[in-house]
């Protein structure tokens, strides 16, 4: 008998006009990991809620078809018994931590199952070992890094020893390279599960793949053949694997699964091919940090002697593992906080911590989560908030808001409710809100977190468009691929210091520096390096190999 069986399952949320899932048939057998791939609105989280018995309890709606967990509908199970059969890790890891110590957090599930104390001790030890958090039992979760907290959530579910694990994109805050390592450990320790993603590179090694689009199954079966079907992936709105994208760009039919395989598909490559030309010359320095240091009240040095000069028109990625000081640096550059030592100069003027309402007029700061700022009833009101605070006249407010909305492609949505927009559009709205203050420098903190592939592409196109219109762009990211593809310059941070600062291709090909920073070069950079090339992304590499 299957662990999980879905027969023609559909779900429609209350007040929704369309089904979030429709006609879904899926069997998950013991010992099998199924990948669910799809963009935003594909129905991945709805599927998670249904199979874990949380829907329609937590969001009312109509369920169609037959859904059985070990032969019984999930809703019929006693909560503790169901938790022992199926474990769920959701995307928003912060909401899944609610206790004050790591061991208590992991023990919470086994306590609910009535597990004895000696067995609980063993479960805690094993679960923490699987996610690499041994020795941190007595730490309060809020003193851990984002990636460690995400691992802790996973440990707290693993301690339930579920027969089936449902992982709904559980990697948003893991360090680059953290997911492949964690995923391979999970595969060894958890026999069966479902893993959802909007990017196929997170699904490497699943036994079977389900491709969803707008709640409907586009394909189900062997991952290799689905991931080799460019047309199918395009229809689903998900990106190709990086190596497949390269071969497609080169007009070749092969779809190598690994760098090794890809290398074998090229004839001997001359090692002296010229790297693509550098971008045109840049403007004068617009943002300068000199000897910037930040020490928190508890004595932790978040930044130490950071020297950084950014010129007008640059597109800079700030990279580093969790806790390396990326966000602290950005907050100082934006004038949100006073440095403990050192200075920040914007266009030659020392800024320190600037006061509202002029704060966002020189350096616009776009936070990771747009929902930290949305409050107005309409999109237009939301964007008008900044100019109004600046004391602009109604005419100027309207002019700035219209201009900002047009710049991010939200013109025409002025009277929409901002809370009802999809996440990608809410992120664009946050950018428009910053643009309305007309800053020339824009700082983005993880601009693509929580976005699917098409929204990421749209957001990065927006950043390029803004750079093209004269803005200086700095963005913090966890994604090495994003930095490789979009940044001309990379600032690599480690333990509050700049480890490397230079052209993207130079930093990304500096393996010792990346190793020291706990990062890994993306596959295309690895391939380029193995071929003796300095390229960073698909277009560059394809041009070199053409």
């Amino acid at each position: 008998m299957s662990l999980l069986s879905l027969e023609n399952v559909g779900f429609t949320y209350r007040r929704a006009t369309e089904r979030a899932l429709r006609g879904l048939n899926l069997e998950v057998a013991a010992g099998e990991w199924v990948g669910v791939l799809g963009g935003a609105g594909a129905g991945k989280s709805t599927l998670a809620g249904l199979v874990c018995g949380l829907l329609p309890r937590f969001a009312s709606g109509v369920l169609e078809g037959r859904l059985l967990l070990d032969g019984r509908p999930p809703g019929d199970w006693d909560r503790a018994a169901r938790a022992a059969r199926i474990g769920l890790v959701m995307e928003d890891f912060e909401a899944q931590l609610f206790l004050g110590r790591v061991d208590l957090e992991v023990a919470f599930g086994p306590e609910n199952l009535g597990v004895s104390r000696p067995e609980m001790e063993q479960r805690i030890r094993e679960a923490l070992a699987v996610v690499g958090l041994e020795g941190l039992e007595a730490r309060p979760p809020d003193t851990l890094s984002g990636g460690q907290r995400q691992r802790l959530v996973l440990a707290s579910v693993l301690a339930l020893r579920p027969a089936l694990l449902f992982l709904d994109e559980p990697w948003s805050d893991l360090d680059p390279g953290g997911w492949p390592q964690l995923w391979s450990t999970l595969r060894r320790n958890v026999p069966s599960g479902i893993l959802t993603a909007s990017d196929p590179s997170h699904l490497e090694g699943v036994d079977r793949l389900l491709l969803l689009r707008e709640g409907q199954v586009l394909a189900q079966g062997d991952p290799a053949s689905i991931l080799a079907d460019d047309e199918l992936l395009d229809r689903a709105g998900v990106p190709l694997l990086p190596l497949a994208a390269l071969f497609r760009r080169m007009g070749r039919d092969e779809r190598p699964a690994s760098v090794e395989e890809a290398i074998g598909l090229f004839p001997a490559t001359p090692r002296d091919r010229a790297a693509p030309a550098e971008p045109p010359s840049l403007g004068p320095p617009v943002l300068e940090a000199k000897g910037l240091s930040c020490v928190y009240p508890d004595g932790t040095a978040a930044l130490t002697g950071v020297d950084l000069t950014v010129r007008g028109g640059e597109m800079v990625a700030i990279l580093g593992r969790n806790g390396s000081g990326k966000t602290t640096l950005a907050r100082h550059l934006a004038g949100l906080v006073h440095p403990t030592a050192g200075t920040v100069r914007v266009r030659g003027r020392e800024s320190g911590a600037r006061a509202a309402p002029r704060l966002g007029t020189e350096v616009g700061y776009i936070f990771q989560n747009p929902d930290h700022q949305i409050f107005a009833e309409t999109v237009l009101d939301e964007v008008s908030f900044g100019p109004r605070n600046l004391g602009c006249t109604p005419g100027q407010v309207a002019e700035r808001a219209t201009e900002a909305l047009a710049a991010v492609g939200l013109d025409g949505l002025e009277s929409e409710d901002p809370f009802a927009l999809p996440r990608g559009d809410r992120q664009r709205l946050a950018v428009a809100s910053a643009l309305a203050a007309r800053p020339q420098i824009l700082l983005f903190d993880e601009p693509t977190t929580g976005l699917d592939a098409s929204s990421i592409a749209a957001m990065m196109d927006l950043l390029h468009g803004l750079a093209g219109s004269g803005h200086t762009i700095l963005f913090i990211t966890h994604s090495m691929e994003l930095a490789a593809h979009h940044a001309r310059r990379i600032v690599l941070l480690d333990a509050g210091r700049i480890l490397r600062d230079g052209p993207a291709r130079q930093v990304l090909h500096d393996s010792p520096a990346l190793d020291r920073a706990g990062l890994h070069a993306p596959p295309l950079v690895e391939l380029a390096a193995r071929l003796g090339l300095q390229a960073c992304h698909v277009e560059e590499l394809a041009a070199c190999l053409a």
Binding site: L99, G100, F108, E111, N112, D371, Q373, F375, N389
Partner: protein, 252 residues
């Protein structure tokens, strides 16, 4: 006694007892003696950060109490005028005692929170007979309060970057300017609570009889401390019964 770890049940009983002695007296010398005793306990329990916070808060609490009671209670001779308001001596002394009383309660509460985690408190309450869901919800709301303040800080920064200035202006305009803070905070909090409830249920919460990872043994020191506290409390009640430490009869 920085190294002393009590059973959470003992800590809760001590906290409950600690509310009685300050309420027994309303004369400044007696209240000051109780306050001093509580301060000694707090000095042993609080870390430097909390002590600094208490040192900032308590003097203003005591002084404002003396000032307000002195003006509004209307007992005793007028000593001086604060504009149209008269400050009276007996009322002022009573107010001072009330300030010391609130100060003593604050110190007891701070000492409790410094030595007992919210999970231990939930464990203790449950073992004292509270239904587990009620005890757990109490501990969860205390923990959520911390998360709420982190979210509030981020929302404030996000709006400050867009020019929100909460300083200056009239009271109504300040209240209006809070809207861009409150709406995201409310939306994020509701979303967080819903997700948290889902996470709790998916981890088996509310499924039936549960065991506990926390494990405390009631020791002799717990019994001794609780008995000593009860004895001191009874002594204070007795003193009050005989009219000692009382400035104004008929008033708590």
């Amino acid at each position: 006694m920085p190294g002393l770890r009590l059973d959470p049940r003992a800590s809760i009983l001590l906290l409950l007892c600690s509310f009685v002695p300050p309420i027994c007296f309303n004369s400044p010398p007696a209240s000051a003696a109780v306050f001093a005793a509580y301060l000694l306990v707090a000095l042993g329990a609080l870390d430097p950060g909390r002590l600094r916070a208490a040192a900032l808060l308590l003097p203003s609490l005591v002084l404002s109490s003396a000032l307000l009671w002195g003006v509004f209670l209307g007992e005793g001779e007028v000593l001086f005028h604060l504009g149209p308001l008269a400050w009276r001596d007996v009322s002022g002394w009573f107010g001072l005692a009330m300030g010391l009383r609130f100060g003593a309660w604050s110190l007891a509460g701070l000492a409790f929170l410094a030595r007992v985690t919210v999970e231990e408190m939930a464990w203790g309450l449950h073992r004292l007979g509270f239904p587990y869901p009620a005890a757990f919800t109490l501990s969860l709301s205390l923990r959520l309060a911390g998360q709420f303040s982190d979210t509030a800080r981020m929302v404030f920064e996000a709006q400050r970057v867009r020019g929100l200035d909460l300083e200056g202006g009239s009271l109504p305009s300040r209240v209006r300017r809070l809207v861009p803070m409150l709406v995201p905070l409310l939306v994020l909090s509701l979303r967080r609570v819903n997700q948290m409830a889902m996470a709790m249920e998916s981890r088996g919460y509310g499924g039936g009889p549960r065991t506990s990872w926390l494990d405390f043994r009631w020791r002799t020191v717990d019994t001794a401390l609780v008995l000593a506290c009860v004895a001191l409390t009874l002594l204070c009640v007795g003193l009050r019964w005989h009219g000692l430490g009382v400035l104004l009869q008929g008033r708590l």
